[in-house]
Amino acid sequence: MRITVRLFARLRDIAGSTELTRDVAPGATIGSVWRQLAGDFPELAPYERSVSSAVNLDYARMDRAVADGDEIAFLPPVSGG
């Protein structure tokens, strides 16, 4: 399955791009996508406990299964307002 990963703010700076494409195995979850990403970019690891995620413009939990074509977003702690 192929998914799109979107990254924001400092996560984007660490990874060096706003959007990545990833091939994932069946049974993949948002959490497994995150761990794969943190393997590629070790500076992401400290965000393990504070990151939020969204799938196709809905906030979602890390144990949520991903499907082919999903847009997964990883969001560092927010600071709007």
């Binding site: 560092p76 927010v78 709007g80 307002g81």
Partner: protein, 162 residues
Amino acid sequence: MNTPLLAIGPAPLTLEALTRALTADDRGGTDGAVVTFLGLVRNHNVGRRVLYLEYEAYEPLALRTFACIADEARDRWPRARLALHHRVGRLEIGEASVAIASASPHRADAYAACRYAIERVKQIAPIWKREYFEGGDLWIEGATADPEDEGARTAAERAACA
């Protein structure tokens, strides 16, 4: 010009546009109170002299989050209506990053809904500011965004004095 009730984008924010969008809804004259909030860029933050800010957002999710905040406020204060605009891009000192307006027949609900909305924006809207200060810059990281965190929601209601 038709101003939407919920918006995010690079255009400067004005209270007049926001309250016009809100009170245009009230053809019946039932509103007795309008409360607004403007968040401004300050020149200092925890001892740093701030030069300017850059706001970034996951814009389509931010808009959905604003709609979710408006729904929450309507559940809690059914007669209050909300308008909420957030700006992105580079903002200078004194410029408004967020503008919120709430209208209601009575002032208590208008104050509460307006305060609740800004608390929720800070808790769950996918928006980030990068602070450029004398000597460097950094991403500000506040709350882990989780719309289902009841503890955070309750804290926002408490701040709204509800």
